[in-house]
């Protein structure tokens, strides 16, 4: 027997099984989702949601696809939040402190309220990664923000109007392109391929009868 709970979708009451996620509960109630539903597995950030349990003062945030319903849950989804996304040419910018100042100066208006961290659906230390961004420590900002799904909940709670996910996105690209160590063996291999080092080998494989390729495949030596 399923246990049922009362939930309130945008204020309207529905009775749903208690083992459903908020997303599944909306569908159970009859919603055909278009907005507010993407990967359904916690990676895409489409289903940012705000809720309050009746009688509780605290406003909570979550991803609808990753959170079970509770009795007396008041749910409002936040399928879109107007983040500020500055455009830039990744080839022309440099990983200096000035670039944040130029593109996202509002991060220096952070009042340290920590509402972003408290609201993060991924449990990240958002205020900390913004602090790293302020100081131009993009490698640290990248690492601290890595699991961000860009749902935008942090920004919806920010009194300084910071678009945290976009700041982190910029930091990660700066880190990935300019600060992370260069990969020698990758550059060598790309050059070898361009120089035609493997052309003959590949062409030989292309021309081999299937039986010979089966032999090759079944007797491969496999790296330990």
């Amino acid at each position: 027997m399923e246990n049922m709970v009362q939930i309130y979708l945008f204020g309207k009451q529905y009775t749903v099984p208690d083992n459903l996620t908020i997303m599944r509960a909306m569908e159970y109630a009859g919603y055909q989702l278009v907005r507010g539903c993407g990967c359904r597995n916690g990676f895409c950030g489409a289903c940012a949601t705000i809720y309050r349990i009746k009688g509780d003062r605290e406003l909570k945030t979550c991803l609808a696809c990753q959170t079970k319903v509770e009795n007396n849950m008041y749910v409002a989804t936040l399928p879109f939040f107007p983040l500020v996304k500055q455009v830039y040419d990744i080839e022309k910018i440099k990983p200096t402190e000035q670039i944040m100042m130029q593109l996202y100066p509002e991060i220096y208006a952070c009042v340290g309220c920590n509402a972003c961290t408290k609201s993060c659906t991924q449990g990240l230390n958002v205020m900390q990664y913004i602090a790293y961004a302020q100081r131009g420590e993009y490698d640290k900002c990248a690492e601290e923000s890595f699991d961000c799904v860009m749902c935008g909940v942090c920004s919806s709670r920010c009194p300084a109007g910071i678009s945290h996910p976009q700041v982190a996105m910029l930091a990660r690209r700066l880190n990935g392109k300019y600060l992370a160590p260069k990969c020698g063996h990758l550059e060598d291999r790309v050059k070898e391929i361009k120089d035609g080092t493997f052309t003959e080998l590949i062409e030989a494989l292309m021309g081999k009868p299937v039986e010979e390729l089966k032999e090759l495949y079944n007797n491969r030596d496999i790296e330990k």
Partner: protein, 531 residues
């Protein structure tokens, strides 16, 4: 949190853990694999397939659910819309906003084409975003594109189109370099060496990763680049019918606003279908690891205008979908969990296979364990086997899980399961569309001119089974390729008079074949209401 009913089996798994870590199970022989697949892999279950009665692949078998969509009515009649009322007029129209669509958009933009991306959800709502484990490229000194070729060709049962596979493996290192140049953060050692692991069926460690957010890291970076370039992206807008010109060349699409249902015409010199996979078709009733919009739209759109399919009868069931708790039923448990050392263990704590067989073999082996061998664990919603994640911490040291597979740790922690200390329950989940539209090496459909296809909607790159990490690779290599070639073709193309005559032709073919159906396609989104 596991309740009482799992206790006994859990105890057996824990008791055997040290021994199981040391134990190196043999890999199956070619014959053993063939027999296992024939008996247990869903692709071999004849009763689940229908023969297509109309269209370019008439006489071939596809899953029932796909056959229904391929033979269905259009969502519109040709008379529903005026093709003179052109809302968007571009060089290259890209349908789909995942990894392939974004890569194509960037390259077409590079080539100077006027590009439009339409996507029925948001840009990045795609299977790319959910790819966890990694991306293959033979860039280590002990590896080569030739070895990569043999691994993939054998893993795909010798069915891949060789020229497509050769391009995939030869362009792989450059794809990694391109992504790095855009700022994608691959896992590296302090000296810049890529941290690479095995995937099922690889003979060299060539799986590059960004923790277990590999696809998400790639997708968000590509999306950011598309936005930086100011490439127009029209979201929440699906393509519901392709438009040909009077010469039979692809020349645009009828678009539908997903919220207002308004219809619009996009005219283009070339079209790229980058619509992704089909997990939400739930073939054979399987759960899926795919995103919400994975409904084989591109196959349907292409098929109706005469684009040929290849291997549309073969699907990939990822061996390790989450089987418990019920809230994440079918969600992907990345193969990287096994790359890092976790083994598959049955109800009695016995390792029943080598953890790094190819996906089709691993899935069939798990199904055998849970069916005929009766060695599955009862979850309440079906049977499952254990994936013994605590092995990873024992092998790699404490902290390995948090560092290398944080998304997995988070997903299970939401339901009170600490994968560092407790194993997880898994069962195959519908994961990937091996087949799709047939293309030439330039990315163009073999039968419809100026129609390019990229990403999961393509068939033939991987043959009849795909190796882990070759799909993220394929969307980049063939996405870029399609973008470059679609732009080049567009620069030489003059579009003739637009027509939707193919809808009538297809209707007549259906009628002549005596097919009675109320179904309309493409499906666009699954319907989970009141379920």
């Amino acid at each position: 949190m596991y309740d009482e009913k799992f206790k006994e089996s859990l105890k057996a798994v824990e008791a055997a853990r040290d021994e199981n870590i040391a134990y190196e199970p043999a890999r199956m022989t070619a014959d053993e694999k063939d027999q296992l697949l024939a008996a247990y892999h869903p692709d071999y279950k004849k009763s689940e397939f229908s023969t297509l009665r109309i269209g370019p692949n008439k006489g071939e078998q596809v899953p029932h659910e796909l056959a229904e969509m391929l033979e269905a009515h259009s969502r519109i009649a040709a008379s529903d819309i005026s093709l003179d009322d052109v809302k968007y007029d571009v060089d290259v129209l890209i349908i789909g906003g995942g990894g392939a669509g974004a890569s194509a958009a960037i390259e077409a933009d590079n080539a100077g084409a006027n590009v439009l991306v339409v996507t029925k959800l948001r840009m990045g709502d795609a299977n790319t975003m959910m790819a966890e484990g990694g991306i293959q490229a033979a860039d280590k000194p002990n590896d080569s594109p030739a070895i990569h070729f043999v691994d993939a060709f054998g893993g795909g049962h010798y069915a891949a189109k060789r020229e497509l596979l050769a391009k995939l493996v030869c362009d792989a290192p450059e794809a990694i370099q391109w992504l790095s140049g855009l700022g994608v953060e691959f896992d590296k050692t302090p000296d810049g060496t890529m941290i690479t692991t095995h995937g099922g069926g690889t003979s060299r460690k060539r799986m590059h990763a960004a923790k277990d957010y590999s696809g998400a890291e790639i997708m968000r970076t590509l999306r950011d680049e598309v936005l930086n370039r100011g490439i127009p992206v029209v979201d929440f807008t699906s393509a519901i019918e392709l438009i040909l010109d009077e010469n039979g060349k692809a020349a645009g699409a009828v678009l539908m606003n997903m919220e207002t249902h308004e219809l619009m015409v996009a005219r283009a010199k070339t079209v790229i279908l980058a619509t992704g996979g089909a997990g939400r078709m739930h073939y054979q009733g399987f759960p899926t690891s795919n995103h919400y919009g994975a409904t084989a739209d591109g196959l349907v759109l292409g098929y109706r205008v005469g684009a040929k399919l290849l291997y549309a009868d073969t699907l990939q069931y990822h061996p390790t979908g989450a089987a418990f708790p019920q809230q994440i039923f079918g969600a992907l448990v990345t193969e990287k969990v096994r790359s890092l050392g976790a083994k598959l263990v049955n109800r009695d704590g016995k390792v029943f296979m080598h953890p790094l067989e190819t996906r089709d073999v691993a899935a069939a082996s798990i199904i055998r364990e849970c069916s005929d061998r009766k060695e599955g664990v009862d979850t309440g919603d079906g049977k499952a086997v254990w994936l013994d994640t605590p092995m990873i911490e024992k092998i790699g040291g404490e902290g390995t899980i948090e560092k290398r597979i944080p998304a997995m740790m988070r997903m299970f922690a939401s339901y009170g399961i600490d994968i560092r200390r407790e194993p997880i329950l898994v069962y195959p989940t519908l994961h990937y569309q091996n087949g799709g539209l047939d293309i030439n090496v330039d990315g163009m459909s073999t039968t419809v001119e100026n129609l390019f296809v990229a990403g999961e909607a393509v068939g033939g790159i991987h043959g009849r089974n795909r190796l882990m990490g070759n799909s993220l690779l394929d969307i980049i290599v063939f996405g870029r390729n399609a973008g470059q070639n679609a732009a080049a073709t567009a620069s030489k193309t003059t579009v003739g008079k637009l027509t939707l005559e193919h809808i009538n032709r297809f209707d007549k073919e259906r009628e002549d074949a005596g097919i009675k159906t109320d179904a309309v396609s493409p499906k666009l989104l699954p319907d989970y209401r009141r379920k």
